[in-house]
């Protein structure tokens, strides 16, 4: 098993790779620095980035290897992943101005195809956050959280020795909210707390400081963005669902909306498997 970090020579891919490095370190897996040669990326910049990551890996005695592929980036990576046993792929993603259906970025293509590994798609807004990540937040909808997502969140928490927060947002309508008094609200939130309590136990066992916070909101994205701006988080982890690229014509996915306006570095975690 290993952890793969996709490098393109940009500062953002270097940051994504550093997150990968810390994830690999905590699991004691080797780190593979992967690049697909293409005319858009300067090979000098790529080599410089790889050098920087290798230097950082050396501090932790972490094995690091370089892999340079050729061909169409997404296809080359997909083929590579199917041939080699890997655990997770870290890659950076770029700002999305508007929804595109053609000419998708590397990370967008990867998020839309079936892969045998998990995918951590990193949107970087603060280059230096990897140096001091003290607080990590994972917003979820009500009590919807998979074990895999929690494990990834917990691993990042342990890697950085950071405190974690699971921010549960319950979406409701204006009228329903009008009918909720303090007692009703507490009951709803208590129910969610009860359902998530085993994760609390798990966090204790893993020795990760974890707390749960709740919100009842009319709009989950606005609520999460408000929470991020109000608190001093350094990393946000969100769960992503693999959709085929042209399947979400109806509107933006919540992840896209979050990644667009996030004030903190954000990792969208896509579980391995088929697209819906």
């Amino acid at each position: 098993m290993n952890v793969i970090a996709a490098i393109n020579g940009q500062v953002t891919s270097e940051v994504a790779a550093l997150y990968g490095l810390h994830f690999a370190r905590i699991h004691e897996w080797p780190l593979t620095l992967l690049h697909v040669a293409n005319p858009d990326d300067s090979i000098e910049a790529v080599e410089k980035s790889m050098e920087n990551i290798e230097k950082a890996a050396a501090v932790y005695d972490l094995n690091c290897e370089r892999v340079i592929l050729e061909g169409s980036p997404a296809d080359a990576v997909k083929n590579y992943l199917f041939k080699n046993r890997s655990e997770i792929l870290f890659c950076s993603t770029r700002f999305r101005q508007r929804r595109k259906f053609f000419n998708l970025s590397f990370s967008e293509k990867l998020a839309g195809i079936s892969l045998p590994v998990d995918l951590a798609e990193v949107r970087v807004v603060h280059v230096h956050s990897t140096l001091s990540t003290e607080r990590i937040v994972m917003p979820i909808k009500e009590d919807r959280m998979s074990v895999e997502k929690f494990t990834f969140f917990a691993s990042m928490g342990r890697a950085y020795n950071a405190s974690g927060e699971i921010y549960s947002v319950t979406v409701t309508s204006k009228k329903k909210r009008a009918g909720l008094d303090l007692g009703d609200t507490r009951r709803i939130l208590q129910k969610i707390d009860d359902r998530l309590s085993h994760y609390e136990q798990l966090a204790k066992l893993m020795d990760i400081p974890l707390r749960f916070k709740h919100a009842i909101a009319l709009n989950e994205i606005h609520q999460v963005l408000h929470h991020l701006s109000h608190n001093d988080f350094h990393l946000m982890i969100v769960g992503g669902a693999r959709l085929y690229n042209y399947g979400a014509l109806a509107g933006k996915k919540p992840i896209e909306r979050l990644q667009r306006c996030t004030p903190v570095n954000t990792i969208a975690f896509y579980l391995r498997g088929k697209t819906r």
């Binding site: 500062v11 953002t12 770029r94 603060h126 140096l131 963005l225 701006s229 109000h230």
Partner: protein, 895 residues
């Protein structure tokens, strides 16, 4: 390690940049990766869609179905006025939708005001060349070249700084410029790091070069914008109540309609007649005029509030004010006058002098606490020394300069000191590090130096003092201790203390201490009364100030603001949200040394404990808290545009007592709405009962649906509005906050509206109808009258029975608890106007043919109208008796 902790080389390396700037090829790629440096404004509302949504609300759909069925009925049985009914119902739907839309939607311009703080052009060094570029093209790693007057477009770390001062007020509310340097910082908080510059701030002086570390939403300013934009406001108590009222009344209407539809089917009336009958009942039950009346009433109240210096931006806020249970207020300018006043002087001879007068006004007296021979001369000498050190100017109403200096100048003016007798030729400037300043004068050929500053600093450089005989004495440690003790006494009373000294020559050495001055920003005269009023009204008041706990506590004591505990800004950071909620649920807290961004936490925690929060603010960074709180209150005089746009109410005079006055007005509106809801519900009974009786008894139809609508949307509206503008009840500020215990639609409203006044009105309507028919030869059992004109006259009597009772109802409903006789006949001019119009309306129903044709009415002989007289009188006195009994019961309980 944080970005501002790195040294220059590491910083540039990690951002893959250099002092020469980024290469053009790097820039375009980074623009793709990081996106543009723009803050997204508020999402544009689709007003048309929002307006149409009002037509698919359950309430509206119900009436739309009724209108559709009226048109269908007109198709099958034309000429019976069902088409007019259909149009009238549709009219009611349009009126309701329009008023609801008007009340709920308004342009949110807070984000627009915030975005104006961002520059459009910025000087950037790329490929070793400096040029002005569009600020949205900035990327992390870019080198910004900053100069005096520039607005900063992104967060950055300074690589070089020359006498750089930054105005950080948009982020921390501090108006004093903050010095910057390029040394790596060891602070935890980026705002405290002196080598950082931030988006949305301005370079006050100096110049510098900074590397961009964050752009767009990732900047500190972006966070404030995001907090302002994405805040999700809770529903106001009124919105909750309207939803609740609509739900309850709709359920009642539906159940009643359904029951009578089923009964209609079994009574062989046919499905169409049964459904029309059921819909008539639904229309009768639905108070169509409720929402327009509430909206208009709130609108009138907001105009009254504007006259009391409270400018309401959002209509719902009028009523929310009445529900406010906590006021979180700033200190400076709101509780206090924001004018420093010198209140006391201590001379080194041991004399304590009190000074009267307020603010910067000249009238005022100096009164010595002990007799002193030379005291007056030394007092003048000291005031001169302090005055010679001031640059502030008071020229009538025209004030210029620092508030503390203005206080000194005002005190000097009181003693007749208006200008220096010598010529100033040098100044040792004040800095926050030195904590003192001095001015050197040439007076009568001699060089004299006058100093003022912190007592502990001047005590260090003074070597002598003037004793009570006006003789110079050496300043020993014992006397230093005495001066320090006196300074402490003043500080304990929340005074700002300055020491004043003078000396020979130009240097700040071997000075002679003259005394201490005690200066304070005094509480506004009307504030203690307002705080007391809040206490009686069950409203908690909490001070949130940037000042220290000492000053905050002293001011709280002076204005009578009770508190259980003081929490400092640093302590608040250590308290978890849950703990804070627990504390705020149990204790009244005085918040000292607070940063503005902590207000949002306090507002959220209070709301989570069920409080309705009114919060004041003036800075850009107050905007999120103002938007989050139930009532955001911006300062009209000292507030920024962003704060004003984010707030629900603007205080034109920045005065705390205006908030309390506005709360009183809000409570009045709340209870007035309660009164007219009862008033409107009362008329539902005479609208419903005729249908029920016609169903069970063999009588002609007493009231048509169009006549029901003429009551709901016609004759009830103006008196309802007049009730909405009634003056406050005598005990309005002795009750708990509106909505906390007493809902608008509670059992008492039902009891009075439906089962007390409503029953009398129904008896009046039916009494008038049956009496009129009997007087004109009708016999029980005749359903179809041979003379249709007689039927219209009888229906007119039913209508007039209900309207005449409502005319009297509005007079007795003017007070919920007190006698109508105690209110004064002409104290509500709007009500007199409404009465005149109502009487004109009745005349039109009786005598104007086009009106009669629309509303199915007819002329009734004057000799028959006497039937209507007893019921309104009965209603008035029985409701007055009801209120009297309530008052007596309350008195007994209180006793």
């Amino acid at each position: 390690m944080k970005v501002f902790m790195q040294d220059k080389t590491d910083l540039l390396q990690s951002l893959k940049s250099s002092e020469k700037g980024l290469h053009t090829s790097q820039v375009s790629r980074r623009q793709q990766e990081f996106g543009p440096n723009v803050l997204e404004g508020a999402e544009k509302k689709n007003y048309l869609l929002s307006y149409f949504k009002e037509y698919v609300q359950f309430f509206a759909v119900l009436l739309e179905v009724a209108a559709a069925l009226s048109f269908i009925a007109d198709r099958f049985a034309p000429g019976q006025g069902n088409d007019i009914l259909g149009y009238a119902i549709l009219g009611a739907v349009i009126i309701n939708a329009t008023f609801t839309f008007w009340q709920e939607y308004r342009a949110d311009k807070a984000m627009e005001a915030l975005l104006k703080l961002m520059p459009t052009l910025v000087n950037v060094r790329r490929d070793s060349k400096t040029s002005a570029i569009d600020s949205k093209e900035l990327v992390p790693g870019d080198i910004m070249v900053l100069d005096e007057g520039d607005k900063v477009a992104a967060d950055g770390v300074l690589l070089d700084a020359t006498s750089l001062y930054l105005n950080l007020s948009s982020l921390n509310g501090e108006s004093a410029p903050a010095s910057r340097n390029s040394e790596p910082s060891s602070q935890k908080n980026p705002l405290a790091a002196k080598n950082m510059v931030f988006a949305g701030t301005t370079i006050v002086s100096g110049s510098g070069v900074a590397v961009v570390s964050a752009i767009s939403h990732a900047t500190e300013f972006g966070k404030i914008a995001s907090l302002t934009k994405n805040v999700q406001k809770s529903l106001t108590p009124m919105q909750r109540e309207i939803i609740r009222i609509t739900r309850i009344l709709t359920i009642i209407a539906l159940i009643m309609g359904l029951v009578f539809f089923v009964l209609g089917l079994f009574s062989a009336k046919g499905a169409l007649m049964a459904s029309i009958f059921a819909l008539s009942l639904i229309v009768a039950n639905v108070p169509e005029g409720l929402l327009p009346t509430i909206t208009l009433s709130l609108s009138l109240a907001s105009q009254r509030m504007a006259k009391r210096n409270a400018l309401i931006k959002n209509l719902d806020s009028v009523e929310t004010l009445g529900s406010a249970s906590v006021i979180c207020t700033d200190k400076t300018g709101t509780l206090t006058r924001n004018e420093m006043t010198m209140r006391a002087i201590w001379l080194t001879g041991g004399e304590l002098i009190n000074i009267s007068g307020e603010g910067y006004l000249e009238p005022g007296e100096f009164s010595f606490e002990q007799e002193s021979k030379t005291g007056e001369a030394r007092l003048v000498e000291m005031l001169q020394a302090a005055f010679y050190n001031c640059k502030a100017v008071i020229d009538g109403a025209n004030l210029r300069g620092d508030p503390t200096e203005l206080a000194i100048v005002a005190a000097a003016h009181k003693k007749g000191i208006r200008e220096a007798s010598g010529k100033k030729f040098r100044e040792h400037v004040f800095t926050s590090e030195r904590k003192m300043m001095s001015s050197v004068y040439e007076i009568d050929g001699e060089t004299r130096l006058f100093s003022k500053g912190a007592a502990e600093v001047l005590l260090e450089i003074c070597t002598s003092y003037l004793d009570s005989d006006n003789k110079t004495q050496p300043l020993d440690d014992a006397f230093r201790e005495k001066v320090s003790r006196q300074a402490e006494v003043f500080e304990n009373e929340a005074y700002r203390v300055l020491a004043v000294a003078m000396g020979e020559g130009e240097s700040e050495e071997d000075l002679t201490l003259l005394g201490l001055v005690a200066i304070m920003d005094l509480p506004r005269a009307e504030v203690p009364k307002a705080v007391e009023l809040c206490k009686r009204a069950g409203i908690r008041t909490m001070m949130i100030t940037g000042d220290n706990a000492h000053t905050a506590a002293a001011i709280a004591k002076k204005i009578g603001m009770a508190y259980d505990n003081i929490i400092n800004g640093d302590e608040l950071e250590e308290i978890s949200d849950d703990k804070l909620e627990t504390i705020l649920a149990q204790e009244d807290i005085l918040f000292a040394r607070m940063a503005s961004n902590q207000k949002l936490r306090i507002a959220t925690a209070l709301q989570n404990t069920g409080e309705v929060v009114a919060m004041t603010g003036d800075g850009v960074n107050d905007a999120p808290a103002l938007k989050k709180s139930d009532i955001g209150i911006a300062m009209g005089k000292s507030g920024t545009e962003v704060a004003k746009e984010a707030a629900d109410m603007i205080l034109l005079d920045d005065n705390f007592s205006t908030i309390v006055a506005a709360i009183e007005e809000g409570r009045t509106v709340y209870f007035n709405i309660k009164k007219f809801v009862t008033y409107i519900l009362s008329s539902n009974v005479p609208e419903i009962v005729p249908y029920i009786l016609q169903f069970f008894l063999k009588i002609p139809l007493p009231l048509s649906v169009i006549q029901i609508l003429s009551i709901d949307l016609g004759s009830d509206m103006l008196p309802g509005l007049a009730l909405g503008s009634e003056k406050p009840e005598k005990n309005i500020m002795n009750r708990p906050p509106a909505g906390s215990q007493e809902k608008i639609l509670d059992w008492e409203v039902f009891k009075r509206g439906y089962f007390f006044v409503g029953v009398i009105e129904a008896a009046a309507a039916m009494g008038a109808f049956i009496s009129f028919l009997l007087l004109h030869g009708w016999q029980y059992g005749t359903i179809e009258l041979a003379d249709p004109y007689l039927h219209r006259q009888a229906m007119t009597m039913t209508l007039l029975g209900a309207i005449s009772c409502q005319l009297m109802n509005v007079w007795t409903m003017r007070s919920w608890e007190f006698s109508a006789f105690s209110l004064g006949l002409f104290s509500n001019p709007l009500l007199i106007g409404a009465m005149v119009i109502e009487l004109a309306w009745i005349w039109m129903l009786l005598y104007v043919e086009p009106v009669q044709n629309i509303f199915n009415t007819a002329t009734v002989p004057l000799q028959d109208l006497w039937i209507l007289v007893p019921f309104p009188i009965l209603l008035f006195f029985s409701h007055e008796f009801y209120k009297w009994r309530k008052r007596r019961k309350l008195l007994r309980v209180t006793a």
